[in-house]
Amino acid sequence: MAIIVNLDVMMARRKMRSKELAEAIDITEANLSLLKSGKVKGVRFSTLERICAVLECQPGELLEFRPDA
């Protein structure tokens, strides 16, 4: 997958657990887990906005483009 989700890195930096973030952005822990592992087809802007607000970061810090080898 060319798009890498660095959510776990950002969460570690902010010392935030999955459960806390899931509650703060109003999605299930299961969906958050799928998002962290990059197993989703897309992220809604509204979800991205809430993650950025809670983790105090930019979308570019969460998502990264890495061309497939």
Partner: protein, 183 residues
């Protein structure tokens, strides 16, 4: 597959009611067709829109010829039975809340195909039916008739509408599935 986990109670009860009604139709329709050919006088009142057949189909027609006609008639009936069977299963899916399941969409397509094929086959078998029923009359009295009325046109439109709706629902299912893959 995208389903309604708890279908609204009115959808559930209406679907169950329609499934029951369809089951009754499923049993009555072929039996009525058989009865019309085996006991024409007794079932005259059932030949609602087959007036010209009513004049041809009577107890005076030897049973063997009536059975030939019945065999052709059942070819058309079989498609109606297929449509009713598919409709029954579709309503049972709806009663369980499986509105957008792949099977429900397949059944809708089957219903459209069955209605469409039923109209075509019924039209095609009308000639052999009329021939079988008048064959015993001898030369000069035999007849072949064709029948295609506004009811058949309406059925073809219904089949078209059901087919289009099934395509639209397939598209809706695809969109709903895609939506579930977004967070």
């Amino acid at each position: 597959m995208t389903d309604i986990k708890t279908p609204p109670s009115n959808l559930r009860s209406l679907s169950r009611f329609m499934a029951g009604l369809t089951t009754i139709g499923l049993l009555i329709y072929p039996l009525a067709d058989i009865a019309i050919y085996l006991r024409p006088q007794m079932t005259q009142w059932m030949m609602l829109d087959a007036d010209h057949m009513g004049s041809v189909l009577n107890e005076g027609v030897p049973l063997m010829y009536r059975l030939y006609a019945l065999a052709f008639s059942l070819a058309g009936v079989s498609f109606t039975v297929w449509a009713l069977w598919s409709l029954r299963r579709l309503f049972l899916h709806y009663s369980r809340g499986e509105v957008f399941s792949a099977d429900a969409l397949r059944l809708m397509k089957n219903i459209a195909i069955a209605i469409f094929a039923g109209v075509i086959v019924t039209f095609a078998v009308h000639a052999p039916i009329s021939m079988a029923l008048t064959w015993y009359l001898g030369r000069g009295h035999r007849e072949i008739s064709l029948d295609f009325g506004s009811g058949d046109v309406a059925s073809l439109f219904t089949a078209g509408v059901v087919l289009v709706i099934s395509r639209v629902m397939a598209e809706a299912q695809r969109a709903a599935d895609e939506n579930t893959k977004f967070v």
